[in-house]
Amino acid sequence: MLTGENIVQLVSGLLHWAYAQAGISSLAGVIDPIISAVVMFGFIAVFVMFLVWMERKVSAHMQSRIGPNRVGPLGLLQTVADAIKLTIKEDVKPVNRDKVPYFIAPIVAFVATFMGMVVIPFDKGVVVQDLNVGILYIIAITGFTVIAILTAGWSSNNKYALLGGFRSAAQIISYEVSLVLSVVPIIMITGTLSLSGIVEYQKQAGYWFILPQIVAFLIFITSATAEANRAPFDIPEAESELIGGFHTEYSGVKFAMFFLGEYIAVVVSSAVAVTLFLGGWLPLPYLDFLHIPGFVWFLAKLLLVIYLIMAFRWTFPRLRVDQLMDFGWKVLIPISIINILATAVVWFCLYGKGAQ
C-alpha cells in the first residue's frame, strides 16, 4: 500500500544505496537532514506560490472577476512571473535607514515562519524532525515574527513604518496569549506536546478534537488570522491610513520576504490547526477503505483551512483598533481560560475514577 512512510523509506533506501556507491555512508547522518530540509524548502516555495495564485483566484471569484489568466494555464505561472519581477527590481535603500537591522529584518521574518514548518508531520513518519516538544517549539519560533516586524518598523526611520510596526506588534502579542491558551486543552487530553503523538491519540480515540474542542478551534483560527496580520485584522497594513505599515520602505526581494513570511505563517497556523483539531494525516471517517495516502488527506485538509482563512479576508470588513484590542483581551482570553477549566471538569467527570 502506498503511504507517505513507504515513500520516505523507499527514497531513504535509494539514498543510502547511493551513499554506499559513492563511499560516503558514514556521512549519511548529516546528508539526510540536509536533503529533508531542502525538500521542505522547495515544497514551501512552490506551495506558497500556489497559495498566492489561489488567493487571487478566490478573491476574483468572490468579486465576480476572472483573476490572473494570462501567464500559463489558468494563470498558474502568474506568481512565478511576479517573483522574477520582484527579484530583478531596483533595490531602493532609503538614506535614513539603520543599515544592519534594515537588512536583517526580512530574513528574520522569513526564518521565523519557515522554521515552524520543520516539525509539522505531513504523514506518519514524514517530517523533517519530529520533536517531542513540537507544539511548544512552533509557538516559540513563530514568536520571532514580532521581532522582525518591530525591527523593520524601527530601522526604516519612517513614521508610517514605525506606527505600523508598533500596531502590528501590539496586535500579535495580544492574540498570542489566546492562541497559546487555546492549545492547552488538547495537551491536557493527550498528555503530550509532540504533534505526531497528538495525531496518534486522535487515531486511537476515534474522533478528531474539533468535536469536543470546537471552542478552542474557533479561538485558534481567529487568533491565527490575527497573528498573521490578515484581514479582518490587517490594521497594521491598513493602506488607507498607514500606506504599507512596517514594510512601507521595503521593495523588491526584501518586500517579497515579508510577503512570503506572511503566507508561510498562514500555512504554519493552518497546518497546526489541521494537526491539532482535524486529525492530521488521518482519513475522513468511513473513507479509510479508499487507501488514499495520509499526506494527500493532510494537504486536502490544509487547503480547506487555508481557504477558510482566505474567505475571511474577502468577506469581513476591517476592524477598528479599539474593537481589535477589546476582542482579544476582553473576549478571547476569558473564553479560552474558561474553556481550559471546563475541559478539566468534564475530563474528571468522564474519566476521574481512573485517576490516582
Binding site: 530540509a37 526564518v111 526604516s156 508598533f166 506588534a169 495580544s174 506536546l193 500606506i243 474519566y351
Partner: protein
C-alpha cells in the same frame, strides 16, 4: 550535550542555515543585479506626498505609551501561559490536587485581569 540531543537538533540547525542563507543570498543578488538609478528624492523617507512636521522628519519620536502597557500585560499573561504547559502535560496524573492548584493560580490571574479591565488598561481611545 548528549548525542541524542545533537541528533535531534541537527536537522533544525541545517534548516535554519538554509532559511538564513537563501533569503540573504537573494537579497544580495538582487542588489547586485538590479538597475541603479538613485536620486535624492527617491532615496529620501517615503511620506506619501503629505508635507509637514507630522509626517516628515526623524521617526524616533514620542509615541503612545499604550503600546508599552500592552507589552507589559502580554509579558505577565505569557509567563502565566508558559506555566500552564507543564501542568497540562501532567494534568491527568495530578488529578484533583493539580486541578485545584491551577484554579487558585488562574484565580490570581483572573483577579489581575479584572483589575486591568477596571483600570481601563484594555481601552484604546
Amino acid at each position: 550535550m548528549n548525542l541524542e540531543l545533537i541528533q535531534n537538533l541537527l536537522p533544525l540547525a541545517l534548516a535554519l542555515t538554509l532559511a538564513v542563507a537563501v533569503p540573504a543570498a537573494m537579497m544580495i543578488l538582487s542588489a547586485l543585479l538590479g538597475p541603479k538609478h538613485d536620486t535624492q528624492t527617491k532615496l529620501s523617507t517615503y511620506e506619501c506626498g503629505i508635507q509637514g512636521p507630522a509626517i516628515e522628519g526623524d521617526a524616533r519620536h514620542h509615541f503612545n505609551v499604550k503600546f508599552y502597557l500592552i507589552a507589559m500585560c502580554f509579558l505577565v499573561f505569557d509567563v502565566e501561559v508558559v506555566f500552564l504547559f507543564p501542568w497540562a502535560v501532567l494534568f491527568q496524573k495530578m488529578a484533583w490536587g493539580g486541578f485545584f492548584s491551577m484554579v487558585a493560580f488562574l484565580g490570581v490571574l483572573a483577579f489581575g485581569w479584572y483589575y486591568l479591565l477596571k483600570r481601563g488598561a484594555f481601552e484604546w481611545e
